[in-house]
Symmetry: C2
Subunit: 295 residues, 2 copies
């Protein structure tokens, strides 16, 4: 029986169910799901397994540190996500024991920290603070603790997706985000733990769309066409000649300070890059359209 918050990603819930678990979705946050689990334990006498305040769980996650030590002889720094801190505690304990020279840096989602919004796309580490047990270990073993914003996490998700061809969830991308933003101290070879990959496809789509907009792969233009049959086709035809993919067409006739014989059209277009955007805007102006770039 596994307890998760009500808004846990369906990707994670389904994957857990596929491994044979009963999944209960209860409460808004991690802490609420924990209370629900404790209630269930009291009622039924089941054995409680805490997700991080548990020596056996920490030791199990520590095997990841042993594998890193074993497979990467040149390693100087390991970057690990911190939510409850179990994974980070296990890895840093293990590395401190077998490779004491390796720096372990923990990364938290800024949204969850004091002063944050309370929300983060890194739901896998959306815990108010590490536990007592894990925090005690982390204070002794970590080189540093740093944090990253949701914007930085989302850029990292898109980078890993496009260049490494791997799907990582927000919690899995925090290490890449911290490295990209220059927050990892020291130099030499770095290993980043990407844990895990349970991101909801709907969230992944939003993150990708955000990333594409920043990279000028979407263009939103507003223009006007005469409100007569055939005029929209004429515009779309010209756009197609520039090898531009039309993603949506919206007409606005209400609340606009334009002539009654015209209609405002907002086009969302799939572009190759900023150069392609500029050349299309130029072409549209050459064809006689007034254009306004919205994004």
């Amino acid at each position: 029986m596994v307890f998760v918050p009500q808004d846990a990603p369906m990707a994670k819930v389904e994957a857990t169910r596929n491994y044979g678990a009963n999944v209960e979705m209860q409460g808004a946050r991690f802490e609420d799901a924990l209370v629900a689990a404790q209630g269930y334990v009291e009622e039924t006498g089941a054995t409680f397994v805490h997700p991080f305040e548990d020596q056996a769980v920490i030791a199990g996650q520590g095997t990841l540190g042993l594998e890193l030590a074993d497979q990467l002889p040149d390693l100087e720094t390991v970057v690990v996500p911190i939510g409850g801190g179990g994974l980070a505690a296990g890895i840093s304990l293990a590395l401190n024991a077998v490779r004491p020279g390796v720096r372990v840096v923990g990364v938290q989602a800024a949204g969850c920290l004091p002063g944050g919004s309370g929300f983060t796309i890194a739901d896998g580490i959306a815990v108010k603070e590490p536990g007592e047990l894990t925090m005690g270990i982390l204070e002794d073993t970590l080189e540093a603790r740093v944090s990253v914003s949701d914007e930085e996490i989302s850029t990292a998700i898109v980078l890993v997706l496009e260049r490494v061809k791997l799907v990582v969830e927000g919690a899995g991308a925090v290490g890449v985000a911290a490295l990209r933003e220059g927050r990892i101290p020291g130099d030499g070879p770095v290993a980043i733990v990407l844990s895990g990959g349970n991101i909801d496809a709907t969230l992944l789509i939003s993150v990708m769309r955000h990333g594409l907009t920043s990279a000028s792969r979407y263009l939103v233009v507003r223009t006007r066409v005469p409100d007569r049959p055939g005029e929209l086709i004429k515009l779309l035809d010209l756009v197609a000649q520039e090898r531009v993919n039309v993603l949506s067409v919206e007409h606005h006739r209400e609340g606009m300070a334009i002539s009654i014989a015209e209609t405002e059209v907002e086009l969302t277009l799939g572009m190759r890059d900023e150069e392609h955007c500029k050349s299309l805007l130029e072409a549209m102006r050459r064809w006689g359209y007034q254009v306004e770039r919205l994004r």
Copy 2:
């Protein structure tokens, strides 16, 4: 200097440029880009490297077959994408030599075959037919050639993304599609070559959205609300209580056979699963809304 068709995925073009190549985007299809490359060779005296009709290219791709033989002692079947056939020819030649008992099955995109639409999302293998050299090898060495549709390819892309956490392009997913559809003969352990991962993020978003709709992760409902201030908020509030994420709201006031005092609203909603869809539709009816499920 690398020649690719005009509509080649920007992900592939950018990756190629990042490796230091000059990329020329010419012509609508693979065959046109080939002609442009040959023209460039005639003009400049450059050395022509054909992407598949070349023994050295085939031999190079054959090393993948040697690695498979080396790393997978239990292997009985290998599934390989076929476009021009270079990758498949190299792998099947190598495996025939070192592991003659292993079956090699080639998979083509149905859209490119005679009788197909001429278009496929598997642009990496969008070649009208394998070359003479590669076809000669494939006829001698392949166990079977099978084909898959774009719909099957797109389901495979989403499956690999969600369950294997890997980004593959259409050409990379054809083997998984063929296996899922039961088109791979024989039994025992199967290895599928996922080559490659250069899918444009915009196409990946469309493919994911398509997959999500099939899995009831999107719901589109049409309903009516009184055309008065506060009525839309009331509806959205009820929807939020069911823990449903609103992706878009569209108002239709034109061309509808509804009362002048009402407005039609179309909601696109992010759902957990089919059960969640049904329970929301029931709740909306209970609240007194007429609802029509569009998707």
